[in-house]
């Protein structure tokens, strides 16, 4: 499309300025701090240590453990959110008389603050007074109550369940909006060719939804990778370090441990890892 070269820049300027000021600046600050030995309560002594914080992280088993947990956390949580959200979006795109109400109600989990979600799920998963154990026992699914958050083999699953619950409406709404953008004639044409439902889904719906789907997945992955509030409320990273993902570890190091330089280095490393995923994605999508 022909246009004056300045036009896109004018359109981008406000967003760019806001980002530079409020994000890139603070990120650069933190990047700089990660090269120093910054202890929060010693603001005057901050010696430059180069890459020492980064090297220390590479030798820190908690870093590698956190990284692995983060990978599991992101892949499983985003996968479940996406799957459930897609199913919900397809269903809510069909015609039935109470559809508007169903569409509105489905966003309830997403519309709640994380701290509430964390506390409610902690409470529902409680060993003694939790709804999950109670229902499980009554329905005969459990033979004895389970201490979901105190068992390393279940704790991560429990937190992933909560974050799936919180996040699936996001996919539902974005994909629902994406479905509206698929021209109806494409379906009509496919039906005229005698295509079945599944065929329509594979050859019309999926390709039409692809741009929005890919973007939503990418953005959600970044968001989930960085989110720590639910884990913090529900397990605090425990039991032991069974749910201590990388950003949670960075947070605990920087604030509770007051080792701000090290925490910053962990955060930078997480960002670099995510950035490499994104660049990989961007390169592929340009093809």
């Amino acid at each position: 499309m022909k246009a004056r070269a300045a036009t896109p820049w004018l359109l981008l300027a406000p967003a760019l300025i806001a980002t530079l000021l409020l994000v890139i600046g603070p990120v650069a600050d933190t990047l700089w701090l990660s090269l120093h030995d910054v202890v929060l309560f010693r603001p005057r002594v901050q010696p430059f240590v180069g890459l020492a914080n980064y090297l220390a992280a590479l030798h820190d088993p908690a870093f590698w453990g956190g990284l692995w947990l983060s990978v599991v956390w992101v892949v499983v949580a985003v996968g479940l959110q996406f799957g459930l959200g897609l199913v919900a979006a397809l269903l809510l795109n069909r015609q039935f008389w109470w559809r508007p109400l169903a569409r509105a109600l489905v966003i309830v989990p997403w519309a709640l603050p994380s701290v509430i979600i964390g506390l409610v799920w902690t409470w529902m998963l409680d060993f003694n007074l939790g709804l999950v154990n109670e229902l499980g026992m009554r329905l005969g699914l459990l033979s004895a109550p389970v201490a979901w958050l105190a068992r390393p083999e279940y704790a991560l699953g429990a937190v992933i369940l909560a974050v799936t619950w919180q996040g699936f409406p996001f996919f539902c709404v974005t994909l629902l909006a994406g479905l509206q953008a698929i021209p109806r004639q494409l379906y009509e044409a496919a039906e005229m060719d005698g295509a079945g439902r599944l065929h329509c889904f594979r050859h019309v719906t999926l390709p039409g939804l692809m741009p929005v789907m890919a973007t939503a997945l990418l953005l959600r992955m970044i968001w989930v990778a960085n989110s720590l509030d639910l884990i913090l409320v529900m397990t605090g990273g425990g039991p032991g370090t069974a749910t201590q993902t990388l950003p949670l570890y960075a947070f605990l190091k920087a604030w509770t441990g007051a080792d701000y330089g090290y925490g910053s280095a962990l955060a930078v490393m997480l960002t670099l890892l995510l950035l490499s995923v994104v660049i990989f994605y961007a390169v592929r999508s340009e093809r």
């Binding site: 650069a28 929060l40 901050q46 003694n128 201490a147 958050l149 039991p239 201590q244």
Partner: protein, 408 residues
């Protein structure tokens, strides 16, 4: 842009903290005093206290800001951020664990001279004064409220089994075992952040010491092994213990799922509301040699060195630590007043819980004034203890990790 700027900001903030207070040129205008506080009860408001103070000091306006506690970390994060950015309030409610870090930041105003000249000083007992001494021998905290951890116990279940409340570790284990069975457990351990209070009772009370080498003596290791065995061998804690926070331990008491737990008057009224006379409290059990340890939960006020209104801040915080106002704020916070006058007529909780608190004073202690303490109580203790409770590491390893954390 601002790597350098940021560093100089940090340094500048420290400079401001250390700088001498400037005289206010408009001294005739009322001074506005910023004070940060946190209460457990969201409907508690210090408005009446502020009004009472402002009536007596027409030249001072108190701007009381309630800060979310957030397990301590929200409160601390705001505190440190505002200090580093040079935007701190004049005075704040703080706890002892904040002291070492605030001291290193040179953020606090020493209060020795003011305390020495303070007429109501004697109304706060020496036991309380001696706990707040900083490592440099000065005083930066003015005691405001306190709690002492005691042992909650179901006296109805004791009576059923013909048992007495445990006074030492051996009888504690007997009682805990006797009261465990079915869906009931002898002791509700707080295995999440803050649960070091429970651990300390058994391990510091059992002979471990928070001094270099003191956590890895044979005595200390044995006490810790005994503690871990309560869960792994004797099963007197509920299975959820590694993840339980204070919410769960208190709820389990109220629901009749546990027979004992350790907490303080802050939860007495809500438990009594459910259990009535079935619940009572005694001092925590003592170790084999008769020594004991329980946690002293302090709540103090401090003035920041950066404040330009130190005299006004002093007026306000001493007002809060003087008889009548001290009783009022203790009522709002659900804790015990520090003044002897207010304590004499104190009745905000049933007497047996106050008695158990006071009887515990001789063995009450604080975690060491080390910058490592915050990280210990919030992260290192729960993570390491949970691993030991789950059998991922041996109990002795747990103590070695603690020793390393505190003493390198």
């Amino acid at each position: 842009m601002s790597g350098m700027k940021r560093r100089s900001l940090l340094a500048g903030a420290a400079g401001v903290l250390a700088a001498a207070p400037l005289a206010r040129p408009w001294a005739q205008r009322p001074t506005t005093l910023r004070w940060w506080y946190h209460f457990d009860n969201p409907t508690s408001s210090p408005a009446a206290l502020v009004a009472g103070f402002e009536k007596a000091h027409p030249d001072i306006k108190v701007q009381a800001e309630s800060i979310p506690w957030g397990g301590g970390s929200d409160y601390d994060t705001r505190l440190y951020t505002s200090l580093i950015a040079g935007n701190a309030p004049d005075c704040v409610m703080v706890k002892f664990y904040n002291l070492p870090r605030l001291l290193e930041m040179e953020a606090l105003e020493p209060l020795d001279a003011r305390i020495a000249a303070w007429s109501d000083r004697a109304d706060i007992s020496d036991d309380l004064w001696k706990l707040h001494l900083a490592s440099d021998g000065k005083r930066y905290y003015l005691p405001l409220l306190y709690v002492i951890l005691y042992l909650y116990i179901r006296q109805d279940w004791l009576a059923e089994k013909g048992l007495k409340a445990p006074a030492d570790f051996a009888s504690f284990l007997d009682v805990a075992k006797a009261l465990t069975g079915g869906d009931r457990w002898g002791f509700g351990l707080r295995g999440g952040p803050g649960g070091h209070d429970h651990w300390a009772t058994f391990v510091l009370g059992g002979g471990a010491k928070l001094i270099k080498g003191g956590l890895v003596t044979p005595e200390a290791l044995a006490a810790n092994r005994w503690f871990i065995d309560l869960y792994r061998v004797h099963h007197v804690f509920p299975p959820s213990a590694p993840a339980d926070g204070f919410v769960q331990t208190i709820a389990n008491m109220k629901a009749g799922r546990t027979a004992m737990t350790i907490h303080h008057v802050g939860s007495a009224n809500e438990i009594v509301a459910v259990l009535g006379d079935k619940i009572t409290a005694v001092p925590v059990p003592r170790g084999p040699q008769g020594q004991g340890w329980t946690s002293f939960g302090d709540q103090s006020n401090a003035i920041f060195a950066s404040s330009k209104n130190k005299e006004a801040a002093w007026q306000w915080i001493t007002y809060l630590s003087t008889a009548q106002a001290n009783a009022t704020i203790a009522g709002l916070a659900g804790q015990l007043p520090v003044t002897t006058t207010a304590a004499k007529t104190w009745s905000a909780q049933p007497k047996r819980f106050i008695d158990a608190s006071l009887a515990s004073l001789p063995i009450a202690g604080l975690m060491p004034a080390s910058p490592q303490t915050t990280d210990f109580t919030r992260t290192v203790w729960p993570q390491t203890t949970q691993k030991a409770l789950l059998g991922q590491i041996p109990p002795d390893e747990m103590m070695r990790i603690f020793e390393k954390h505190f003493f390198g």
